[in-house]
Symmetry: C2
Subunit: 251 residues, 2 copies
DNA sequence: CGTATAGTTGATTAGTATCAACGCTAGTGG
DNA sequence: CCACTAGCGTTGATACTAATCAACTATACG
């Protein structure tokens, strides 16, 4: 798992497509601007931002950075999926968040990233150095406002996840997870119901504070109760939205 | 618990001491400036900030605001202790954070606070309206930077708490909690070892995702192992710091 | 001094983890 | 094209941690 066991790439993925003009280099930015941190910026500002940007493609299961690495860069997902996680010395793992198109990560404290970032699927990222970004903040005050808003959004989500981890049952956790993915899909213009589950059972387990066996059993249970269906690996159909939502909220 | 069952106060606590000159009105601000969000500001800037401030005293177990209330204000603790929590419909509770002198809360999303804030001890708070604060952000860019930094700090803490809630054992959770309180005490100039535990066992349990019985048993266990001592109610002595830290980290 | 509340301890249960086996799918090489 | 293999997911049996239920003790309060 991760870059340790990966064959060396024939190129450094971070070096692909150095920053340049926006329209040709970062086509996806237009698509994801609503959710990305470049939302609310004028065309000129986005162009200015593009000058400090670097676009790169990563394969699946690629470690972008590790917890403790110097936090030089801020990343924005053009498309693909990324997981952020923390590890304990004995290997226990907690996934902090699953990220998709338009999400940013690497928001930082000085002194190193506080989680590891690994791609789930093949992923395209925009990379910004914190140093250059900081100097841009003076030019574009709205960018600072935007980064603050993204940090608050992450904070609110983290607090909701604390409630899930500390107080919800396995069934409620899995239901919450599916509701969350569905809402996220709707926000990005995708349908609410057949949702993509690009992550493994192990990832879901480490996100919900469960084991893979419990996650698997809970999915089976929800299928038996006709609340969901899992027609193909990597996809879920939410057949009974109301039941799922009520379960998630613990009503 | 909370304002619902409290006799009505003989005055509105929020109306005490309306904003005015700093030195007389907010003596504690000088003490807590290192950690508070007014750190890094010039004397003039702090004075400017003081004009939009309102100081107020609250009794113990007082609900400052509830989850879902309109998020009009940002609060800063002059002295005292506050807990933030989320509730599920059936009463299950997750405490998001314990806050002390210099901490701020009410960082907000539009559309309401996403947790309830309740005092633990009698507490003095500074209150700022988000509206007035927003207009100040234009005047004092450093203030925005400061609020961003506080949000990031909270985010990092929340992520660490997710690891605790999702993957640590009861013993590790309690050890982590004590280590956390001790480090926080040191940051505010207090000794690392006899630490104050102003919150109830129920609060600790709801913070760590445990029951009061398990918290109590775990304390007893740590006492038997000579790692801590609980001489008086509300105080803990950390007799074996290394053992406690190793437990907390799961090594 | 009596009552109410918080905290501790014990007995039992329940929910999830652990251990183990098996099936499915996808990729590999003959 | 098909058997072989590896990894992922599912299911079953059992163990264990923490929750629940219950009783008791200590502390604070009127």
């Amino acid at each position: 798992m991760g870059s340790l066991h990966m064959p060396p790439l024939d190129h450094d993925p971070l070096k692909i497509e150095p920053g340049g003009e926006l329209p040709t280099q970062c086509r996806n930015c237009d698509i994801v601007r609503e959710v990305a941190f470049c939302a609310d910026l004028s065309h000129d500002e986005v162009k200015r931002l593009a000058t400090v940007r670097c676009h790169a493609a990563f394969p699946a299961s690629f470690t972008v950075f590790r917890e403790g690495d110097a936090s030089d860069h801020l990343f924005s997902i053009s498309n693909g999926a990324v997981k952020l996680y923390k590890l304990m010395p004995d290997g226990r793992r907690q996934i902090i968040d699953f990220l998709f198109s338009g999400d940013i990560f690497g928001l930082g404290v000085d002194g190193g990233y506080c989680y590891t970032a690994e791609t789930i699927t093949p992923t395209h990222l925009c990379r910004f150095t914190h140093r250059k970004l900081d100097s841009l903040l003076v030019e574009i005050p709205r960018l600072e406002r935007r980064m603050y808003a993204m940090a608050i959004k992450d904070l609110v989500a983290a607090q909701e996840q604390m409630l899930l981890l500390g107080r919800k049952t396995a069934r409620e956790k899995v239901a919450s997870f599916l509701v969350q993915l569905s809402r996220r899909a709707v926000q990005t213009g995708l349908p609410a119901s057949p949702i993509a589950l690009p992550m493994s059972r192990a990832d879901i387990a480490d996100y919900l504070g469960l084991t893979i066996e419990t996650v698997s059993r809970t999915f089976t249970q929800l299928k038996r109760d006709a609340i969901i269906a899992l027609p193909a690996s990597g996809h879920a159909v939410l057949d009974n939205w109301d039941a799922l939502r009520e379960l998630a909220e613990g009503a």
